[in-house]
């Protein structure tokens, strides 16, 4: 990417931000934290996958989904089903009436494995399903909604309803899904004990690695023409449509992309935490995910990662220090951030820190690049590709 010469200046600066994040996640945190805390950071990072998807889907394309927990949960359940089957060998479950099936099925008087559990004996199928199942559902929802031009608030409400429906379905069908308890007591992945400290540390690095893969995919999309169309669609959907683009197809694509990210995050969550339960799918969980994204800055994929990290770290920190009062502290944090910095941490960084950086490195605040003639506020234009100049032209709120 460095060789695309007119963008070199931006790319190097943007590159530094990625490098800083990598440094933080790969070097600083593993050195500074013990395995227990590092495992918790790993858990927070799994939410960052969802937040990146939301930046693409909500921040860029203006499609607010209040049901990302559904895709997170589906990915997580796919992984959990595989792990649970591995844990439910006939020897390990000899005490049951029907050995060889997961324990909760036995409690619910099931005597054989339901058909849809069968394929999850295979690891490759599971890997496929972790991305495939959420994407398929996202495609069906997206196709049904976007081709009918359902959007905005209506779409948000429908995604929320889907989150509620899936939760009720999973809780109601406890013989097949583990019900409200979820799928618990997961021990090994292909014979590898995922509960040890070493395993948890390795899983953390796997998580960081995949996070960067997702970051680069998201970055790739947003920097192509595709990304521009998404942003344009957000601002002036009709103009994009009249220009001959199939708006619905683009929306379905970005919604599926966000679902895929969420699914991967969910699967990693299951591995890192060791179980999956319907509480990650429901409305509250889904809205929390939107908050991660809003707090980090809904236009910045890097901001989303920091948002997920900070909100969850604050949640753990507050609840450990003030077990009786922590929900108020969290509420105050959310309200404070939304009131004071509507563009989240990324917006804050952009307004206050970046000008400092400019002075520090003696950079001209206006390097004419992709939008040469536009007299935008210096700091904003400076932002790099996360803050595409397109966004300065059209405020996303207008959609």
């Amino acid at each position: 990417m460095k060789n695309t010469s007119p963008l070199k200046w931006f790319a190097s600066r943007e590159g530094l931000y990625y490098l800083a994040l990598a440094l933080l996640l790969v070097v600083i945190l593993p050195l500074a934290l013990d395995p227990f805390r590092l495992n918790m950071v790993g858990k927070y990072l799994t939410y960052a996958f969802v937040a990146i998807g939301l930046v693409m889907c909500w921040g860029k394309a203006g499609i607010l989904s209040l049901g990302q927990g559904v895709f997170f949960g589906l990915g997580g359940y796919c992984m959990a089903m595989f792990l649970k089957l591995e844990a439910s060998t006939p020897e390990a479950t000899a005490i049951q009436s029907t050995p060889g099936i997961p324990d909760f099925m036995d409690w619910n008087q099931l005597t054989e494995l339901p058909w849809f559990w069968e394929p999850f004996h295979s690891f490759s199928f599971t890997l496929l399903a972790i991305v495939g199942v959420p994407v398929l559902l996202a495609f069906i929802i997206g196709f049904a909604m976007f081709t009918r031009r359902v959007g905005g608030v209506y779409f948000a409400i429908i995604t929320q309803a889907i989150a509620a429906i899936l939760t009720i379905l999973i809780i109601g069908q406890q013989g097949y899904t583990g019900g409200v308890n979820g799928i618990t007591d997961l021990q090994t992945l292909m014979g590898w004990d995922i509960r040890t400290d070493e395993a948890k540390t390795i899983l953390y690095f796997v998580c960081v690695g995949l996070l960067f893969v997702c970051l680069f995919v998201a970055r790739f999309v947003q920097n192509r023409k595709l990304g521009r169309i998404l942003v344009a669609m957000n601002a002036q959907e009709n103009r994009v449509r009249f220009s001959g683009y199939d708006v619905a197809a683009f929306k379905i694509f970005v919604f599926c992309l966000a679902a895929a990210f969420a699914g991967i995050g969910g699967a990693l969550f299951t591995l890192i935490v060791g179980f999956m339960s319907p509480s990650f799918i429901g409305i509250v969980a889904s809205i929390e995910m939107v908050i991660f994204c809003a707090l980090g800055g809904r236009l910045s994929i890097l901001g989303a990662v920091y948002g997920a990290l900070l909100v969850n770290a604050a949640k753990s920190g507050f609840s450990e220090s003030f077990p009786e009062l922590w929900p108020f502290a969290m509420g105050a944090l959310f309200i404070g951030v939304v009131l004071a910095f509507p563009n989240g941490l990324a917006g804050l960084y952009q307004t206050y820190v970046m000008p400092l950086e400019d002075r520090l490195f003696k950079r001209k605040p206006k390097a004419a690049v992709s939008a040469p003639a536009k007299p935008a506020p210096a700091a904003r234009q400076d932002e790099g590709r996360d803050y595409d100049p397109m966004l300065d032209q059209y405020s996303p709120e207008k959609s």
Binding site: V180, Q187, S277, S319, P323, P327
Partner: protein
Amino acid sequence: MGTTTIAAGGRSHKSKGLRKSLATLAASIMLATSAQAATPATDEVNTTGLAVTDDTVKVGILHSITGTMAISEIGSVQAEKLAIEQINESGGVLGRQIEFVQEDGASDWPTFAEKSRKLLRQDNVAAIFGAWTSASRKAILPVIEQYNGMLYYPTFYEGLEQSPNVIYTGQEATQQILAGIDWAVKEKGAKTFYLLGSDYIWPRTSNKIARKHIDKLGLKVVGEEYYPLGHTQFNSVINKIKLKKPDVIFASVVGGSNVAFYKQMKAAGVDFTDEKPLLLTISVTEDEIRGIGGENVEGIYASMKYFQSLDNPNNEEFVAAFKEAWGDDMVIGDVTQAAYLGPWLWKMAVEKAGSFDIDKIREASPGIEFTKAPEGYVRIHENHHLWSKTRIGRAKTDGQYEVVYETDELMEPDPFPEGYQ
């Protein structure tokens, strides 16, 4: 054991000044002398790196104090803190004062898992008193087993579990159900039953056991229904009940649904004091009645091991101490009492083992008797559950139960009941 007053005890608590300072003085003198004489060295009683010092030992309390379960779990927290305070007052455990780290499970199962890991990994607690719902127990169980912790779990639950790292101070399902149904059959001549519950593992397992037992007695189940947690529309089932006219409604509806259920029963003209049908619940304790309203449940029967109104000297002391610590308007339900047993049973296990090591506590636990239990007397079974009596109470309008029956013998805990699976 000094269970008479909860004044004093190292840390501050609301209590009367002079008596407190005197008692503290007395306790500290006793402690100082006994510490020199009898306190065993820390490296002898703690070989696995638990948070034990020469004069303190750290334990964890892990319940939901925020979220939907808080209303049920706070009673357990209070009981556990009371027990810890009383133990400290009477000299602590192996000469060490108990300090507790409290964490909030926030009615959220993953949070429970995270916090239990924190308690075991960061705080190195010697025991955890906590979890309430089956889901929260299932969430923390793998963590407790992995790091070899010891959990004292207070809630009556579905059984089908027997972890080496858990002491179950509540009843498993058969201890609540079998004697309750036998009582209804013998004393009330019940022939037909209608099973009704919330839709999750505990009511389903309980009703499975109830159904098998009813079948064995040669009697009949005329209906079985489940409703999602939080369900509030019971009109259809009330109509079905009116149609089928069972002798007994066997109810295991939990949480907020109870409020709707009992109010709607009353509105539909069912007067429980007529006992036509008789309602026998295994899920409504004094705590729940506070939410439902005593006038709505008057005349229902509950099958539990403990009621606040139990008439014995242990319970009198316990109720008085609980109210002094937490306020006169507090009520004490079955689970709250079971939670109170946890710290005491742990203390006795530690002292019997002469060590805080989890493996030694596990070995020492079976056979431990607690004669000062508010419910009367309990003993730990080989399978880590408690021998307890089953009692039937009849609800009064003031929200208390009047005990009408108790089993002569202690009921043996049987988490994997043969013939009931």
